[in-house]
Subunit: 225 residues, 2 copies
Amino acid sequence: MQRIVIVEDDVYLREELIHTFQKAGYDASGPASFESVEEELKALRPDLVVLDVNLPGKSGYELCKLLKAKASFAILILTARDTLSDELTALGLGADDFLAKPCHPDRLIARARRLLKTYDRQLCAVLRAGPLSLDTDTYKLVYSDKFLILAETEGKIMRLLMERYPHIVGKGELLSGLWGTEEFVDENILQVNMSRLRKNLSEIGLENVVKNIRGKGYQLEVERL
Amino acid sequence: MQRIVIVEDDVYLREELIHTFQKAGYDASGPASFESVEEELKALRPDLVVLDVNLPGKSGYELCKLLKAKASFAILILTARDTLSDELTALGLGADDFLAKPCHPDRLIARARRLLKTYDRQLCAVLRAGPLSLDTDTYKLVYSDKFLILAETEGKIMRLLMERYPHIVGKGELLSGLWGTEEFVDENILQVNMSRLRKNLSEIGLENVVKNIRGKGYQLEVERL
DNA sequence: AATACCACTTACAGCTTTTGTAAGGTTTCC
DNA sequence: GGAAACCTTACAAAAGCTGTAAGTGGTATT
């Protein structure tokens, strides 16, 4: 079943939305606190997030931007401020749809269904990091209008780098992520695969993207889009 | 550059839309006659189609449905009839967005840009046939919530079958499509690969989907979604 | 400047996957 | 019942992927 998470501070409306989606056959829920929405969403792995703009603390737009930098789920902005400029801002930040409150449940469901269809978890098992997208099933890496299909080992490395982007990924993490354990594994094999990965990346114009942090590990470095 | 095709019978509005999109940096055009829109669209290979609902002859909804059965492009419905039920119909038929006329150019551009982003030609070099989707770069075939990664030869066969769906693909077409020529190629190799393909398809619950037409060729047979 | 350490690269060989050949079985139609 | 078309399985060659080995180059520390 597809998971929908509602981020909305008005308890009453939140419950109503959750109920609406549940009735339509989705697994809907919504956090009650907004301290660590990002972590919660990461843990919940939703297929779609319905986001209110006026949240206590952080602005919904800010959150949308943050989520979209790495999101592999759709975001639907739901707001009472429905001017054209609000809509343009939302879409510009990467939101996938924008609806004004109050919104007829049928319209909301129809829009949500449409988003879930194109964001089909399987079809686009996609991980993003800046201008890069990686299909984690096939290891197809897309950069601007070029793409590259990575072998399994290189793909797994790329996945780790993108998952942690923009942070450093320790050598230990890479070793245990790829070979199960970091004991009894020659560190050289990591270097060999890094070398191969870099060579392949350069084929689609991605030079100096995988940076080594001496003694620590590796880090992805691409200009944010 | 991304191609946008406007399907709109009002000459005045059509030219205005084309101009708007061109100013925004897209390759926009629109046919003046609506006799054979389907063929035209097939030839133009657009990334996005902006579709009016009230067309002479065929209804825009009908066209939308037909196109979406095989479309690898986004469809945005633009209409003067902006009731909720119109919107629900459009979305139900597979349209990707629905806007009411008159529509502010900025909103239209923003919505179009958003669609083009998710329908990224590279990321989803996707071919559809009924409930099936095939990434033609990686040969990842998706069916409902399962997927399968095909080897190159099987993938190419699947591609031909889906491109011609729901029509028959001749044995000669398959042979020359896969091995360049249909001379000097043992027909058996096609049978072997068909066998392998069918076996793999059955792994994700697709039984009896590749049908043989004795003496003619092969045909894909899936219940339309 | 010497040393130790870390990182990079290339070549090679074993392994896996993919592909076509061959051969025998099954279905269909006259 | 027999021929033609189609299906299936097994096998071996070819291609691609992966880890080992060994040597080079760079950097930090003394």
